[in-house]
């Protein structure tokens, strides 16, 4: 299943890049990186459905939380 999914992502990427009128390398690179990220995410989820969700602004979150609890008298 993982192989099928990765192949599907690759096929989509190939098809779409083929459809482009022009292919500057920056665009192709960014495109491929994102597709690869999507494929890896899909593959990981297929392997292990309990993947942890990262908190991108975790430190801010914690800061806000502390401030909130400290000052919030509501």
């Amino acid at each position: 299943m993982v192989v099928v999914v990765i192949l599907a992502y690759a096929a989509v990427a190939a098809l779409e890049i083929w459809l482009w009128a022009e292919r500057p390398w920056q665009k192709v690179l960014l495109y491929l990186v994102l597709i690869a990220a999507g494929a890896v995410l899909a593959a990981l989820l297929l392997r292990d459905s309990d993947l942890k969700v990262p908190e991108p602004v975790g430190f801010v979150t914690r800061l806000i939380k502390r401030l909130w609890e400290g000052g919030g008298g509501k």
Partner: protein, 371 residues
């Protein structure tokens, strides 16, 4: 190539975005019978934020988003900001998709894998996002007629079952539930409007952002207020928060002369359409801001990878209906606060300062670099 959306279509897009995937959920359930107070409070609290957003867009004048940002914020800060919001918008798109797929699984298709529905929705929103904001706004304009008329008719049909006593006693448990409900509403769905900041490419005039955002938002919040209060008055204040989908439950009870029954599917359909608009807008915002942050003029080539990422993403963030509740309550609010309230205020202050400086002297816009 500027994408220009007529004001009235932009307004409708804002309305559908806010009403979108929120409609069926138990909004502001913590406030109990005081739900309407929570709604009003949240609307009042949100309006300054909306105005502030419109103000920033208005300062850009007729310029496109990319040009305006670069002028007002400076090259690197604006790109970093765009990158951050790309992540936020993408994540929101994942949330919206999983809301829909979970809803469909819960009420209609229990054994169909969510990936299937998610894939179909992702493909459609991919298409919509590639077509651009003009087409999306047109789509919203035509679908809004269906959605809002359906809502209006269901509201009329629910009226006969409304029990006004459910709203009493007012503030039995004090102000706290009202505040809590209002904050819940602010983070989902009211202030998610910040995503729309990145959706519109440019506006017709300096006044357009106000004309689009403010009435659109207020109208949408009123619609949500009416629908939520009506369904609360139908299902009962105590039961409202216990349901995953109280509006659904309320509409399922419509029974007019034993003929007009079983109308809940219509609400489901409305919900799917509204959510679609929201997810397409989020995807569009994510692609546009990501493209901008990497310095590309055209964003369309980024739509496909981002949309394909949404499919696993939606399963990643929220995999079951239980997660919808838990994540909305636990994980989402904190990061949402950052993107929905803290950053916009910072941007606004920064932009006001820059604009004043640029406008007064035009001496050295390069000075304003670090932060």
């Amino acid at each position: 190539m500027k994408e220009l959306v007529p004001d009235h279509q932009g307004l409708v897009l804002v309305m559908l975005f806010v009403v979108g995937n929120t409609l069926v959920f138990a909004l502001g359930g913590v406030a109990g019978p005081d739900i309407w107070l929570a709604f009003l409070l949240a609307t009042v609290l949100a309006i300054p934020m909306i105005l502030l957003m419109a103000r920033v867009r208005s300062l850009m004048g007729g310029a496109s988003l990319a040009c305006g940002l670069e002028q007002l914020l400076g090259k690197w800060p604006s790109r970093a900001l765009a990158f951050a919001y790309a992540g936020y918008a993408w994540r929101l798109a994942c949330y919206v998709v999983s809301d829909v797929t979970n809803f469909i699984q819960a009420v209609a298709l229990p054994t169909t894998p969510q990936v299937v529905t998610a894939t179909l929705f992702a493909l459609l929103m991919l298409w919509a996002a590639k077509e651009g904001v003009e087409v999306l706004a047109r789509f919203a304009a035509i679908m809004s007629k269906v959605v809002f008329n359906v809502l209006f008719v269901t509201f009329l049909m629910l009226l006969s079952q409304v029990e006004l006593g459910e709203f009493q006693p007012v503030m039995y448990n004090g102000v706290k539930p009202v505040w809590l409900g209002a904050f819940q509403l602010l983070e989902f769905p009211f202030l998610e409007v910040v995503v729309l900041f990145w959706v519109f490419d440019c506006f017709r005039s300096k006044k357009s952002p106000y004309r689009v955002f403010l009435p659109g938002f207020v109208a949408a919040s009123l619609i949500l207020l009416v629908m939520a209060s009506t369904s609360l008055a139908v299902v009962g204040a105590e039961r409202y928060a216990q349901f995953y989908f109280p509006v659904w439950a309320a509409v399922a009870r419509i029974n007019i002369s034993t003929f007009l029954t079983r109308l809940e599917a219509i609400i489901g359909v409305t919900f799917a359409i509204g959510s679609f608009v929201k997810m397409a807008a989020c995807l569009l915002a994510a692609s546009r801001s990501l493209a901008y942050s990497f310095g590309f003029a055209d964003y369309r080539f980024l739509v496909t990878p981002l949309a394909l990422g949404v499919i696993p993403g939606s399963q990643w963030f929220i995999s079951t209906l239980l997660d919808v509740e838990l994540s909305v309550i636990k994980t989402y609010p904190t990061s949402a606060t950052f993107f929905q309230a803290v950053l916009p205020v910072l941007i606004w202050i920064w932009v006001e300062w820059r604009a004043r400086k640029l406008g007064r002297g035009k001496s050295s816009p390069t000075q304003a670099g670090g932060q």
